[in-house]
Amino acid sequence: MSVSDMFAALQGALGQDQDIREEIRKVVQALEQTAREILTLLQGVHQGPGFQHIPKKCQKAREHFSTVRTQMESLKTKFPADQYYRFHEHWRFVLQRLVFLAAFVVYLESETLVTREAVAEILGIEADRERGFHLDIEDYLSGVLTLASELARLAVNSVTAGDYSRPLRISAFINELDSGFRLLNLKNDSLRKRYDGLKYDVKKIEEVVYDLSIRGLNKEATVGAGGEK
């Protein structure tokens, strides 16, 4: 093979690679749009009246997730199944965003932390790499950390809206999350940076709880907990 033949072949390979990435970008754009719709929907819970509508919002969000599942199916077809990490960077951001949104919905519904397997199911992907397009553990953890920030904000807004018990529950949840994260040995990458933000979320929520307890508002909440949920 002459030098020019070799380079022509290499150019072919590079061109193919670019084409695949173009296709992936298109689907990722659609996913990002759906993610924005879900986010806009769920942001409403921070407003006063939003609290009553939480179950309805969760339901609507779940409907949007079926769109996500369809788009994921399309994404899976755009590249060879065994080259997930070759193109991973393209969908990493939107996937982390979707993990956060799924975790947020599950928290609003049940006040628990969604498992990796459960998120994978909501998004229509696998939990293990072996079984196909999967959810990378670091993306899952990033999404969960974003949830922590969102809950810190929710704690503040709950108080404003008159719900004094929710912050206490959020506090317990976040503290457990924090102790879980402390078990991890992280490298100095983006996940580590995001994890560093968690302590500020913890601090913020602690301050909310403190504000409530010194004013005796949390006692009111626990007494009136019967009618609350």
Binding site: M1, S2, V3, S4, M6, F7, A8, L10, Q11, A13, L14, G15, Q18, D82, Q83, Y84, Y85, R86, H88, L113, T115, R116, R129, I137, E138, L141, E176, L177, S179, G180, F181, L183, L184, N185, L186, K187
Partner: protein, 254 residues
Amino acid sequence: MTSFKSFQLELDTRHDKYERLVKLSRDITIESKRTIFLLHRFTSAPNGEEILKESEVKLDAVRQKIKQVAQELIGEDMYQFHRAISPGLQEYVEAVSFQYFIKTRSLISVEEINKQLIFTAEDREETTNTTSNSRDKQPHTWSLKVTPVDYLLGVADLTGELMRLCISSVGNGDIDTPFELSQFLRQIYDGFTFIGNTGPYEVSKKLYTLKQSLAKVENACYTLKVRGSEIPKHMLADVFSTKTELIDQDEGLP
């Protein structure tokens, strides 16, 4: 939360593997670089054959490291760890293509490189590791494929070494090699120009250095041509070799 304990394990395993691959990549880089230095000492002098043989031994050692990389990557997605091993593989491509050029005056193809990176478990070490009994006699094969991008980046670095070879050839009185190199480098430069910006950013970056290397080689050829017309060729070689003798005497070489 107990699930975080399993996350810890998963992340630790992944990071450990990444680190092992980084270490292997560093070893590959160092040994490949040493091979390149060795090959620069090659001339058409009698010890040339020895140097080539020694370089083959060194490159075989590098390939053994690459086999270890391939073994680490069994069952894994290569691209997850690509950043760990890419520098080593580029350096290997540079070394092996340098040796190939010296032997054949041509460019080794990526297919040829990858053919040499298919390993089977015929060595004794493998059989002591396997706990399978004699029924399970399937030969284990590991292979690593150098990606087109790593190949291109390695070849781009090769041009820098070829430029050095050109300059040192002139100093050795070898006045044929520079012209061969000039033609060869021009072919490679044409190839990279053809690829242009359709490759990743790193490839485009190397194009600039490549152009400089080519210019240096072309200037050396120009100088030879101009001086060559003033001094008869056989004397030109004498001029260069005398210079070399003087240098050798200074360095105390036999």
